[in-house]
């Protein structure tokens, strides 16, 4: 079971690399923002999975909650800023 979770963890890391490609290559800045949002959702899942692997889910869940809240505030701030500023 542990081996399975570690495999899933590696697959998730590879998927994050796919989103990272979009962040680095995105034609517009909104592509980058969207890729960042996808990465953060995957990071939340990754943290819970890591907690399952290390058998410390109670601690890692708190970290992922904090991460989700920070992501909400950050993404909204950047989107609002870009909305007022327009395309660079």
């Amino acid at each position: 079971m542990k081996i399975f979770f570690i495999c899933v963890l590696f697959i998730l890391a590879v998927l994050i690399a796919a989103y990272l490609y979009r962040v680095l290559q995105g034609p517009t800045i909104f592509d980058r923002l969207l890729g960042l949002n996808g990465i953060s959702t995957k990071a939340i899942i990754l943290l819970v999975l890591m907690g399952t692997v290390f058998e410390r889910v109670d601690m890692f869940i708190d970290i992922s909650t904090g991460y989700a809240l920070l992501n909400l505030v950050g993404a909204l701030a950047v989107a609002k800023y870009l909305e007022q500023k327009g395309l660079p």
Binding site: M1, L15, A18, T28, F30, G38, S64, A79, E83
Partner: protein, 99 residues
Amino acid sequence: MDILSVLFILAGLFFLIVAAIGVIRLPDVFSRAHAVSLTDSLGAFLMLVGLALHEGLSKNNLKIIAVLALLYIQNPVITHATIRAALRSGLKPWRRESS
């Protein structure tokens, strides 16, 4: 119980992989947002429910459900904010040429 959890996690992984392929393949911001929302809604749900099933009956399950509810409330807000900013700054959605 373990088999059910593995099934859920594999199904979630399928949707996550499809979403990653979509993020690379689709042509513009608006369509890519659909792919990201695929991850956010069903992929995260299946993965987290699979992990909660593996966890068994404990208070961690409640926390996992709280994270899931948080994701379901905040992800549409973020996607909507991004798409609205893109639309207001004058990006035109990609159209198929034949139409």
